[in-house]
Each structure stands twice: as structure tokens, then as C-alpha cells.
Symmetry: C2
Subunit: 122 residues, 2 copies
DNA sequence: CTGCCTACCGAATCTTTTTTCGGTTATTGC
DNA sequence: GCAATAACCGAAAAAAGATTCGGTAGGCAG
């Protein structure tokens, strides 16, 4: 496990929240599991752009904080199924709102991004 | 401006949202401005643990995406006041919920973190 | 036994983000 | 002119985070 060098301040709710679900892919993974995509291989197929390894790692972190739980079935081909725990379920409403906000503002953000790039280059 | 090497995927609402307010201090800064702490110096005093520079930079990013706006007054001592724009205001409810979630779960997260460290060391 | 599938792990490397530190500019009070 | 204060910028370094690559292990089909 990697231990941070700069001490964290968890006196602020925002920072606590980001510690749990602030990773690049954590909410995407949580969303996938919540939608019934429970196996690592399938999650990876769902979030193609993320690498196999990062999904394994972020899944392990979500697991270690009890956001998801593993229900491995010892069958062929080896199956691991992840489920959102009751604790994890408390994140779902936030996830839904964040996703909705992003979807609603995607067009604006993309346009603005292009403008900013033009300014940076030109 | 730093231009990313890995191409971003903004096809997912979560990723769009994180692009705008996913930075380490962005929501904290937005929260401060929303609470009426509008000047860079004061924001820095409010979030002591964050460096002067990072606040300047994240403020600049929030500004470039129109989340906040600057209302500089040319007086002594030089004043810059930042305000949350109508666009930025749409983030406030999410911010409030994220903060509330983090505050509600801070004790659990801290305890769990200690347990995980014990396992890692022991 | 061999090849294949799935889950994971370790380590090196690369990318991104944050931090540190030292500037510049502008204005005021002395 | 000179100290002080505020805003902001640039660049290097440090830290964190993500990615790539190549493993191991178990079990099944042929």
C-alpha cells in the first residue's frame, strides 16, 4: 500500500468524500456495478478507455472502504462479482446528480474547452 | 497552459463534472466564495492547508470555465473579488450534498483508514 | 499435458497535479 | 525613494495517480 507523504486533512467533508470516491474512475466503476455490471471483465468492457489494472486497483480501494463487496463464486470461468454495499448505496444519489450535472453541461464544457485551446495556441 | 497527453473522454457526465470541479481544492474554494469569502488572500486564510499558488491556479481554472467571475476593484490595497456565476451556482447543491456526505461519514472513514494502516504495517 | 479464460498482483514508467520558491506590477503610507 | 500589501505568473521539483507490461494461480476443455 502506498502511504501518502503529505498529511491529509479530513476535517472537511469535501475532502473526506473525495478520498472515497474522488479517483479518476471510482464513480464510473460504482455506476457500472450499480447498473448490474458486476464482474471485473465486464466492467472493463463497459469502461473501455480505462485499463484493466486501474479497474482492479480502484475496485480494491472501494472494497477496502466497504463501498463494494466481493461475492466470489468458485466456478468456471472464475467469477468474482462485486456488489454495492448499503454504505456504497448512500453514494448513489450523489453519483446520479453528478452524472446528471455533467451530462447537462457537457456541450457547454466541450465548446468552452475548444475556445480555451484556441486562445492558448493562437 | 498544460495540454494533456492522454485524450480526455467527455462522453460520460461524471468525467465532465470532474473536469470542472474535480480538482483537489476546487470545491473548497467554491464553497468559500459562496460563503462570502471573496478575496484570494482571505480564501487562502480559510483553507490554510492549501498553498497560495494552488488557489491562484484553481481560481484561474474556475474562472476560465465561467464558474466564478472576477470583479477587481482598483483600490488600495489591491482588491480582487470573486463571485459565483449563475453557472457556478448550479454546482452549489452538489457541493452541499458532497460536503454533507463527507461530514456524515468522516468518523467512519478515519477509523477505517487507521485499520487499513495497521494491516499494512503489522 | 497444453491452451485458454479469469482474477489478481508487482514494479517500472509515464502523466498529471500540487507544491515550493522566487519573481513582477501596482498602489499607498511614511 | 522605500517598505508594505495584494494579485498574479513562471518554472522546477515533488508527489500522487494512472498506465503498461509481465507475471502467478486456479480450473476447465480438448
Amino acid at each position: 500500500m502506498y502511504i501518502n507523504k503529505i498529511e491529509e486533512d479530513l476535517d472537511c467533508g469535501i475532502r473526506v468524500a473525495f478520498k472515497i470516491f474522488g479517483g479518476k474512475w471510482k464513480l464510473c466503476i460504482l455506476d457500472a456495478i450499480n447498473r448490474g455490471i458486476t464482474r471485473p471483465t465486464d466492467i472493463q468492457k463497459d469502461i473501455r478507455i480505462a485499463s484493466r489494472r486501474v479497474i482492479e486497483m480502484q475496485l480494491a480501494e472501494l472494497l477496502s472502504y466497504g463501498v463494494v463487496e466481493k461475492c466470489a463464486e468458485e466456478v468456471y470461468p472464475k467469477k468474482s462479482e462485486y456488489e454495492v454495499t448499503p454504505f456504497g448505496k448512500t453514494i448513489i444519489p450523489l453519483l446520479a446528480q453528478i452524472d446528471a450535472w455533467g451530462t447537462a453541461n457537457a456541450a457547454f464544457v466541450k465548446t468552452r474547452q475548444l475556445e480555451l485551446e484556441k486562445i492558448a495556441i493562437g
